[in-house]
Every structure is written in C-alpha cells, then in structure tokens.
Symmetry: C2
Subunit: 338 residues, 2 copies
DNA sequence: TTATTTTAGTAAAACGTTTAACCTGGGGCC
DNA sequence: GGCCCCAGGTTAAACGTTTTACTAAAATAA
C-alpha cells in the first residue's frame, strides 16, 4: 500500500539517497538512473511523507492563514473569498493552507495559534485588521509574514492591498459626474486604515472640484460596518443634513443598511438619493435597486498574497513589497444622474 | 527558541521517554515527576513537533475536507459555512482542516488529493455530492470517511444530513396552510439525493390532503441550481400552467431567480404568487420581498460532521451512523395567505 | 530473611526523509 | 605510468518523537 523511499530504492536498485536526489531533481544523478527511479516511483505510487520530510528539512509545506473571528463570521463572503484565492494558489503550488482565527481583542498574553507553536507552518498570511499584539508576538518566531487588506502601523511588511484611495476617489467622481454636489459619506471604524483611505479618496475627489466637506456630510463613528449600522448612519445623516443627494458608503453592507432606511422613509433610490457602496460582495445584484459599487477582486487578492509568500519562500527575500490591486467602478441601478 | 523534548528532559532532569509519557498523561509516572516535567514544559514553552509525532505515530492531526470545485465557487456561502463549522470544531479539538477541491467530473484515473497520497490526513470529510469514482478510489486508503449533505449510493458510510424530506414537507405544508392548492415545484438536478428528498416531502404533503401532482406542476430538469435556472424554470412553468399560486423552490438561488422572472412579468409577490425557498442562505433577508424559506443550520452541519469524525477516530469505530439535522420553517414576506 | 511482585522510570529502536561527507572507477594530463 | 579530477553515486547521521522492552528500587509475601 503506502510505499516508502526504501521500497523505491529497492525496486530501482539504487540507494535511498539516490531516490531522494532524483525526487529533488539533483543534477548529480545521470538521466539513466533518473529514468529508472521515476519508473519505480510510478510503479509503486510513491509519495514522500510530509512528516518525515518536515522533520528533517524544517519545511512543512503549510501556510497559516489568520484572521479575526468576527471577520471570519461576517455574513458577506469577503474574507472567505480571499481565503479561497489563497487556497487555490497554494494548492497549485503544492502547499496547504491552515486556517485559524484569533479573537479580535487578542492580547499579548494570549496564546498564539497552535500551528505556530508546533512549528507547523512555513509562513503566515494575515487577512484583515488584526491586533498589534498578535504581530508583536509573532515576531520572535520570525516566520515570513504577508498581510492582505491590512498593514500594521509599525514595522515593514510585505502586503497586498486594495487601492482604497483610488476606489474612494472614483466612487465619488462617479457621483460628481452624475451631477451630485452634496455627497455624504458613511463608514464604520474610520480608524481602520482601509476605511480611512477610502475616506481620503472621497475628500480628494471633492476638493479637486473645490468642495470642502465637513461633518455635516459624514457619519464615521459607527462601530461596526454592518447593515444595522448603515441604517443608523443614514438616519443620523438625514437628521443633520437634508441637502444630500448622494451617499458613498465605505462598504456594501453599510450601503444596503442605508438603502433600507431610505425605503422605510419613503425616499426613493435612485430618484431622491443616489447611493454607491464598496467591495462588490455577492449580494449586490440581488438587492433592489441593484447597488452601484466599487468592485474588489477578492479571489485575486488572496491569490496574490499567496504568490507573494511563495516568492519570499523561494528567494528567502524579505522585501517589504507593497502591492496594490486595482479596483473598478461598477455602475448599477442605485446611482442616477441629476 | 524552539525547544525540543530533549531540552525539557534535561531541564526536568528526566529522560525524554518520561517527558513523552507525561505529555500523554501516562499513569506510570508519579505525580511528583509530572509536576517537575510540566514546570519545565511551561518554562521552555515546549510544544511537540507535529512532524516528528506524525512520523512515528502515523497520526497527522489533520482532517481532509473535500468538495467539488463548483460547490466551492458557488456564490452563496453554503458549503463555505459548513466548512467554517468543521474548522471550528476541529480547532477546539486540536485538529487542522486541510481543504481541497476536486473536479466535479472526477474520473477513476484522476489523481487523488495530494493530502491523501502523502498520508497527510487521519480522516476525510466529504461535503456535498461528489462523483462515485472518487469514493471508489478513496477506498483502498481506508481512511475514515464522513459525508455531509450527501451519501453515496453504494456502500455504508457515516453521514450528516439535512432532514430534506421533512423540510420539503413543512415548506409545502406552510403553503397549504396559507390556502394554496396549486403548488409548483422547481429544482435543479433532481438526481441529487437531497433534492429528490425535498421533492418527496413536497409530494407527501400534497398527497396527504389528497392532491396528486403531475409534471404540469414541476420543472425538475434544470441542470444547475443557480439563479438563472430559477428564472428559466419559472418561465417554463408559467407557460405550462397558469393556475399555480405558490412555488416551492428546491433552494434559495432558484427561488430568487424565479422571483426575478415574476417581477419582470409584472406578477406580484406575494400577492399574485407565493414563493418559498430552501437553505436560508445569507442573502434571503436582503431581497425584496424577503424570502420565506427552510432554514438549514450550516455551521452546525459542519461541526456535527467533525464531531462524528472525532468519535470515529477516538473509538476506532466505523459505525455507519446517519445523523439527520433538523430544519426550520422561516416565514418572511414572500408567502401570503389567500 | 529471601523471593516475588509492583512501581517508576530509562535505553534504544523505529518512523521516512535529507544531506554532508565519503567513496570508486575511469579518463585526461604531464 | 603516476597523479589528479570528476561524474555518479553511496553511507550514515540527523531530525524529534513514540513505544517496547528492560531495570533498579521499593513493597509485599512467604
């Protein structure tokens, strides 16, 4: 059944060392011998044992994937799709992904994920915002780290990020092009770097045409970027400012919540108010009217992260590369010219 | 940094064998010695190496999770949620999940997932319908298998399943209770066992009140359970039969597609036609009107599967247990009394 | 007291690889 | 012919555990 390197060696009439060298395509072995060995490998359906390999080479062939539990449980498949991309890219490169979550209030004294303690990963991909303490604790294991959709404030790390600034800009620009001038902005945690960048993009676009905004135009103190908060934010904004004709929501969930508020208050979308989101999660097409948004290529984001990890692993380089993946304006039915 | 069993042995002044026995809480070791060793373990932050362990014990601490690639890429987070449940349950029991997909047209001669060939898993959880050939090929590795939301036609296997029959029944019953008598049914692949059971539940409920259905009442030859097919199915059904006042769709995606068809043809939901889905995927609340459906506890489904796997692994039992998880009627706005 | 059993622990082999160091038998060069 | 080199391997140690068989000391029985 399960054949070992010894069986192969015997079958091919060579030493186990030779088999190992053949498996790693070492050029010290003649092509004749290689052929012989390969035949034996095929015949016996030999596959090297991960454990044995890992034990001696210190390489596990696993990559850890960490995100906080609230990101993990989010109903919109955002980080899940990133994970999918990572997993796919890993698989085609003969790696496995070990996924785990950590508490979103992870503290210095909390234990690290088990796969780190057990030396069971060759590198770690971190998706979304995670507590600094985690990154701190990770340091002493000096495993290669790659961040996706987040970059810790201190320290230099390779990262794959959404072009949030551009996204915020083109979302706002789209509204401007549609004739809107009183454009509101709603967000959850503005301290989240990605969200802050989207906000900057929004401000940049407006300033470019000479509009200065103030807090009558935005609600950025919602504590969570979910639908209920979008509803609440829209409500607050409505009380503060009745002149707004368009809303840029920092993500789709907020946008959808806001839409619900307008529906409940008989404000027509997009006739009375235009609304644009950010992320392009799977559901945007389903809601009525369908939501204009900024498309984020989530699977690619994950795949890129894994690719970056592979490069680091291969070259042993630790360049703190920052890769920005482009976003795209998707115009649907929730925005309208005035 | 990374301390080994030797370091611990030295620190505690015992042999490595003793440390190993302490780690496994063997009662041949006195509690005094255990204390000493535990102190050393804490002090050195010792965690046994997975690889070394796996090499000798033949246990990897990994569980494989297999699904077909089209299930994996489905936009509704159905199997993803099942995976989440599995992963969570695995983690709290010190296991890792290795996820992989296979082609939905997997053939006998195709290679098995790498983690099987490399002996890198202790058991396998299979989610959703997979080709028989895969199951056949898996046999010779005789790893424990657990199926979720599917059971191969031949062979006896432990499985966690949705109570589809009951679900189909209560969905239909709900429509009957609302006064409907001409109730349609639409489905994708009726050969999928789960779908077939839902269909049976539908028929049972109707027969119980003396209604015999015929193919003027259902479209069950759509090849895929996606929204576009729901649209198409509703269209076909509309052409065949104008008396229908309610539809039971075999899953939510089909239901949503059907709703789109009715909207496009100015048929009001739920005034002109009631519609109920199955699965309760995350988006059901967002669509307008919100979709009545049968709730399937997806995370629990995955967690149960892992739990079953853990029991099998612990007891070395291979009882082909079948666990049915209950479903629940969720009444929202898409169904109405007539 | 001596023989036997029990307790508490240890020594060492084994698991399946990788890899550094070591061989060996020609061929080329002077 | 003697020497060195090189191509093409092989030997054996090492990786960090688990586990079987063994042992020394203590407890018990005769």
């Amino acid at each position: 059944m399960k054949s070992t390197i010894k069986d192969v060696a015997q079958e091919a009439g060579v030493s186990v060392a030779t088999v190992s060298l053949v498996v790693h395509d070492n050029d010290r072995i003649s092509s004749d011998t290689k052929k012989k060995v390969h035949r034996a490998i095929k015949l016996l359906n030999y596959h090297p044992s991960r454990s044995a390999r890992g034990l001696v080479s210190k390489k596990t062939g696993n990559i850890g994937f960490i995100l906080t539990d609230d990101h993990f449980l989010r109903t919109e498949p955002f980080y899940t799709r990133i994970f999918l991309g990572t997993e796919f890219q890993a698989r085609t490169n003969e790696y496995y992904i070990l996924l785990t979550t950590i508490a979103s209030d992870y503290k210095k004294e909390d234990p690290l994920p088990r796969f780190i303690l057990e030396q069971n990963v060759d590198g770690i991909i971190i998706a979304g915002k995670v507590p600094c303490d985690l990154v701190e604790n990770l340091k002493e294991y000096n495993l290669p780290l790659v961040f996706v959709d987040f970059l810790p404030f201190k320290g230099q790390y390779p990262t794959i990020q959404i072009d949030n600034l551009k996204g915020g800009y083109i979302a706002t620009e789209h509204l401007i092009n549609y004739g809107h001038r009183n454009i509101g902005f709603i967000a959850g945690d503005i301290k989240h770097p990605s969200i802050y960048e989207r906000f900057q993009g929004y401000k940049n676009a407006l300033e470019e045409i000479g509009i200065r905004t103030n807090d009558k135009f935005y609600v950025i103190d919602e504590d969570y970027p979910a639908r209920a908060n979008g509803y609440e934010a829209a409500s607050k904004l409505y009380k503060r400012n009745r002149n707004i004709t368009a809303i840029f929501a920092a993500n789709d969930a907020l946008a959808i919540g806001a839409m619900q508020f307008y529906k409940d208050n008989d404000i027509k979308i997009p006739d009375d108010i235009s609304i644009i989101g950010f992320d392009d999660v799977e559901v945007d097409l389903l809601i009525d009217p369908s939501l204009s948004t900024i498309h984020v290529p989530k699977i690619e984001l994950g795949a890129e992260a894994m690719q970056l990890m592979l490069n680091i692993l291969k070259n042993n380089s630790t360049t703190a590369k920052k890769i920005l993946v482009p976003v795209e304006l998707i115009v649907r039915k929730s925005t309208k010219k005035i």
